[in-house]
Subunit: 385 residues, 2 copies
């Protein structure tokens, strides 16, 4: 896959996390790129989120680099703000750009002091290592409990989009989710990029739930270098961005902590898309639905039940539910199906739930989540210690 | 403990569930009692909920009996309404009371037809078995995945309150939760009983979360026989009712599916009690907090993070968090504490989280939940099959 022009990547191990695995990444544009981001809406926002938001405002959407560390969220610490600023300044100096063109981003444990010297000392080597081909190195360095690296690519007429993301827990569909960095070489003004991101995040990262927890550090940043020289029509740009962001969101769900299955939930026939999304979110967040899918149990009653508390008015007698293409609930009632065949189908790595409501409207939404297994408990019972 | 006067109880095995364990219970007042109830707000309400709501309206709060079955929710079935009405009618006939004075109540699997003959055939024996002393038999017959029977008792000046409840999963603090039946021999008018129940449910069942799922069958019914001849002051009645309902709610949390610990969450210092409850609910519903407690991990960052997305405005720098009485977070930052001593304290069966906000107000709320363990996944992965 061809990478977007105008970006270079680097990664190394700076000693931030205990495991000797790269934990510091830098994504740098050759010249200031247009930048747009969505950040967590959590009241408790990490220092880099606060600073990143401010930098984007001050620079009016001009971004030269993102400096990302894994292993420490730089959140709820005494020195958080200073650490974010110090490290951003050091990166700006090394790249010879204004500090407001550097976006810091952190992920990891909350409430543990982050030593800025680990980062500033590593910066010369990090910058020296910048290379257009080290995209995957950066994608690997931002991982925490992720089991797999998550990248996605798309191409439009004359321009390219590439994205990397991390996250497998503390993921909730309300605003940006987890860390995601998307680069394109399309020519786009910052305002147009912000508008495109706002629309695309709705049908990608905001349709994703692993456990209903929303992090203090969630960030999704898009940068457009313009290096292709091509200014695509709005629809073409959004299509390529959506393709990348949906792929990244699905990869996060599939790699959900302890997950064995990607669950895609399609809701149709509500009055509005927003209503369909609310029902999809309720189903995606239901531990009862997610454990049933883990156990390959066609417990459609739990799906109907979750839809019922989504806060959307509908007539249960107008609801059909399909699992893996097989109708298990017809007009709100049990439909006959082959239990043992269904058990086998639900053992697959991709599970699809379709809930359709007849007669209400044309609203529809697709949501992604994962099954809930013993593994989630194991991972999260001892993350900090 | 002295039981309230004026009630009799019965239970037997009617063959509704596979396991040969009593699955049908009857609670009967000697004469029509004042009755008040809160039911699920789920859009998908089970047939007995719909009929119970209608009966209370028609009878103007006069209740003679509750007929409860476990093993089948009588929800999302072709014949649900007819089954609820047929069985209520049969009970009314056997007890020689108007049908609207009988409240049917069901719990169990959704979407499976319930054979009314199993219940009507058992009714003569069930009614013949009514006895003032068989309170515990009824409390046992309504259990499903519950590991322990849940009952609570209180006494006021000259009157008594006794309650039984069931539930250990699909429990969410929004309206009545699970099945609960509370009897008192106080003299209370139906309207006053409704008002008392409305207040008491707010600080008991509505402060309880096991997994954030809200059932189609949730019912909390209070009956006042008046057999004591004592008409207590409003405050005394509410105090006794609250004592019983809080005890029942806590018992449900402690017996949460797979739970090893009861978690009590106390939030103080918000502008209003409602704000404190919202923060408490966010913490109680967070799988990350609940798995950390399961692993005896003092991960206070997750607690602060969950508070942050509760939708309440507060300054994180004004937040203190205490675990088992030990301050682990001070003014939003890590406080020094003995990790190994804390690990030991978090291994206890009762875990207390106190989140206090300085300077905002006098709002406060207490919430109950349980830890999230591998056991929850095991129980719910194969409930139906």
């Amino acid at each position: 896959m061809n990478l977007p022009l105008g970006f270079r990547y680097s990664a190394l191990y700076a000693g931030i996390r205990k495991a000797k695995k790269n934990d510091l990444a830098l994504i740098a544009a050759d010249a200031p790129a247009a930048g747009a981001a969505v950040f967590t809406t959590n009241r408790v926002a990490a220092a880099p989120v606060v600073l990143g938001r401010a930098h984007l405002a001050v620079s009016d959407g001009q971004v030269r680099a993102v400096l990302i560390n894994a292993g420490n969220a730089n959140c709820a610490t005494r020195t958080g703000e200073r650490v974010a600023l110090t490290t951003a300044k050091a990166a700006a100096k090394a790249l010879r750009c204004p500090v407001e063109q550097v976006i810091p981003s952190s992920t990891g444990v909350i409430g543990m002091e982050l030593d800025p010297k680990l980062i500033t000392a590593a910066l010369p080597q990090l910058v020296a290592g910048l290379s257009a081909g080290r995209f995957d190195d950066a994608a690997e360095a931002i991982m925490t409990t992720d089991l797999v690296k998550k990248t996605a690519f798309a191409e439009g007429a004359g321009f390219r989009v590439a994205g990397m993301t991390k996250g497998s827990g503390m993921i909730h569909p309300n605003m940006a989710t987890t860390l995601g960095f998307v680069m394109t070489d399309a020519v786009v003004e910052p305002a147009a990029l912000r508008a495109a991101l706002k629309r695309v995040v709705e049908t990608s990262y905001n349709r994703l739930s692993v456990d209903g927890d929303m992090s203090t550090n969630d960030t999704l940043l898009v940068m457009a270098s313009g290096a292709s020289g091509v200014k695509p029509p709005r629809a073409a740009l959004e299509k390529a961005l959506e393709q990348v962001c949906q792929s990244l969101a699905k990869q996060i769900a599939r790699d959900g902590e302890g997950a064995r299955k990607l669950i895609e939930i399609v809701v149709t026939g509500t009055r509005t898309n927003a209503e369909a999304a609310r029902i999809g979110r309720a189903i995606a967040n239901s531990p009862l639905v997610k454990t049933a899918i883990a156990g390959a149990d066609a417990n459609w009653g739990r799906i109907l039940c979750a839809a019922g508390y989504a806060g959307v008015e509908f007539d249960p007698r107008q609801v059909d539910i399909r699992l893996q293409g097989v109708r298990v609930c017809r007009q709100g009632l049990a439909a006959a199906f082959d239990e043992s065949a269904m058990k086998k189908k639900l053992g697959e790595a991709d599970v699809r739930i379709i809930l359709s409501i007849a007669g209400a409207g044309q609203g529809q939404a697709t949501f992604w989540t994962c099954d809930l297994t013993e593994g989630y408990i194991e991972i999260n019972g001892s993350y900090r210690t």
